[in-house]
């Protein structure tokens, strides 16, 4: 299995609202990320737009439905469709989430939590081996945000991710907002989390906004519907200062999507924080 070379840059998720911006002007990003499933189709406008954008920018394909934690294994049709898209787009890399989404009968279309058990780790690693073998390339997996922990948990999430990368050769997509959300929801230390990860395996960072505690009960909810908050920016700066290699950083917005300039301003803040962090690393 080949390795994924570090790629340093700043990008945005490509959303339908911004198609015209990307097609009709030069947008100051180093890459765009798309939700794989939106383009795992046979034809039509969405695919044509993606191909046009691909001609201008490197593209990352980021999935939400691989269900890498499914005990019943992976969906062969899904893998075939993903491979077709991967061959069509030639992305920087292919990513998905450490979660599960489906059983043989139903699909939740939500990123459901896994027990952090050795049993689940075996399932995840077997599934990653199959996915990477099918695609012929290593993948990135994103740390989840979650609202439930399980009595069966045997590992910390960072120990689970470390062992997962060691056993499969996959890489990490570090979602800093997800670390913050889960740390707040489950009462663990974000510092411990970052210190416990194999940060040399990180190739990409996600930044996003969340719904604070109190708006929807006693949990912070990972909603991607507002700007990145100060605490998450701080954690990003901290994480960035701990990662020696270049990484691709992006702002993720999936709901209440603002005009593009607003997201580009947030991206500038990420550039500035990363620059400060890198200056600290080299000092």
């Amino acid at each position: 299995m080949t390795s994924i070379q570090p790629f340093g840059g700043f990008g945005l998720g490509l959303r339908k609202t911004h198609y015209a911006d990307f097609l009709e002007s030069h947008v100051e990003v180093d890459f765009v990320e798309v939700i794989s499933e939106n383009y795992m189709i046979d034809g039509g406008k969405a695919l044509r737009v993606l191909e046009d954008v691909r001609a201008r920018h490197p593209v990352i394909i980021h999935g939400v439905s691989m269900s890498i934690g499914s005990a019943q294994g992976l969906d062969a049709d899904y893998l075939d469709r993903l491979k077709q898209l991967e061959q069509r787009i030639d992305p920087l890399w292919v990513s998905d989430h450490l979660c599960w989404t489906r059983t043989s009968a139903h699909n939740s279309h939500d990123l459901l939590p896994l027990p952090l058990s050795n049993e689940a780790l075996d399932v995840v690693c077997d599934n990653i081996d199959r996915a990477q073998s099918h695609l012929g390339r290593p993948m990135l997996f994103e740390n989840p945000s979650s609202y439930v922990t399980f009595p069966e948990d045997e590992l910390t999430e960072w120990a689970f991710l470390s062992e997962m990368t060691r056993r499969t050769g996959c890489y990490l997509l570090l979602d800093v907002n997800n670390i913050y959300v889960s740390a707040q929801n489950h009462g663990f230390s974000a510092d411990d989390y970052l210190n416990g990860l194999p940060l040399d395996r990180v190739r990409q960072i996600h930044l996003a906004g969340h719904t604070p505690r109190g708006e929807r009960g006693d949990f912070i909810i990972d909603t991607h519907d507002r700007a990145v908050c100060d605490d998450v920016w701080d954690l990003y700066g901290q994480a960035r200062a701990m990662i020696a290699q270049p990484v691709a950083t992006m702002i993720e917005r999936d709901d209440k999507i603002p005009p593009l300039p607003e997201l580009l301003t947030e991206l500038d803040q990420a550039r500035s924080l990363a620059s400060n962090a890198m200056a600290g690393l080299s000092a």
Binding site: E37, M40, I41, D42, G43, G44, K45, A46, R48, S65, S67, S70, A71, Q72, D75, D77, Y78, W100, R102, T103, A105, H106, N107, S108, H109, D110, L112, P115, S117, E119, A120, D122, V123, S146, Y147, V148, T149, F150, P151, E152, N185, R216, G217, D218, F219, I221
Partner: protein
């Protein structure tokens, strides 16, 4: 039981709890864990209902927000999605509408139209035959070639009989539904949906064209389509009229650029 079977059963139980608010959480869960499950339930419900809403925007406008939400909730409870694409959460919604809006059957036809348009919007690319291409392809055809000819259509083409005037409904919706049009058709007609360049579109046609198109889509040879149009025990004049009618339909399908190939 192997370890992955244990996880499998745990995931089946978790999914059942996500899909059904009345399913109890495990006995050994704390109140906080139960509250966490509620977040997943809400996330699931809102994601799939948003997906249904996004596919059926015109139907939503036609029946009104409150009625649509009720119908969408009923649909996702009765038919939880199983496919990997969330778009499929809207599969079968026309049948749900047929059941729930029995006193306004136009709703189910409108929902069918929107589902067919979604299918056309993401169908594979194909190059339609021009009149000239068709002329060249059939220039050497004898009677047997015509009789055995099957027609390939653009991917995503769909057709159904109609009892309601979808064209008038669509126009009224585009105008913000300031006036509700008369929707019931005096005679059954039909609707054909396809993608024109990047835009899904539809037209209303005579009922016999829908039946012929459905047969042609199912790879029925052209000669048999002519016989089908002629009905049972046709006389010579009826056969002649049916062949003329089939020829006119073929011409219209070519004109609308629905045909991508011929097999004889």
């Amino acid at each position: 039981m192997t370890s992955s079977q244990t996880l499998l059963h745990a995931q089946q139980a978790f999914m059942a709890q996500v899909l059904d608010d009345d399913q109890p959480v495990p006995d050994n869960w704390s109140e906080r864990q139960a509250a966490g499950m509620d977040v997943y339930r809400q996330n699931y419900r809102s994601a799939v209902i948003d997906a249904v809403t996004s596919t059926y925007e015109q139907t939503r406008q036609w029946v009104g927000e409150e009625m649509f939400q009720r119908a969408a909730i009923h649909h996702v409870i009765a038919h939880p999605p199983s496919g990997w694409t969330i778009d499929d959460a809207g599969a079968g919604f026309a049948e749900t509408c047929q059941q729930l809006f029995a006193d306004d059957p136009a709703v189910a036809e409108l929902a069918w139209l929107e589902w067919a348009m979604l299918g056309a919007s993401r169908a594979a690319e194909a190059t339609p035959l021009s009149m000239e291409d068709f002329g060249q392809a059939t220039a050497q055809f004898g009677d047997e070639d015509w009789a055995s000819m099957t027609i390939e259509f653009l991917p995503g083409v769909a057709a159904r009989p109609l009892q309601h005037d979808l064209h008038a409904m669509w126009q009224a919706l585009a105008a913000g539904l300031q006036q509700r049009p008369e929707t019931t058709l005096q005679d059954t007609r039909g609707c054909i949906v396809w993608r024109e360049a990047e835009r899904p579109t539809f037209m209303m046609v005579e009922a016999d064209m829908v039946l012929a198109l459905q047969s042609a889509l199912a790879a029925m040879p052209y000669g048999e389509i002519c016989l089908e149009l002629a009905g049972d025990n046709p006389d010579e004049q009826t056969l002649h009229d049916a062949a003329m009618r089939a020829g006119a339909m073929l011409g219209q399908w070519l004109q609308e650029r629905l045909i991508v190939g011929l097999n004889a």
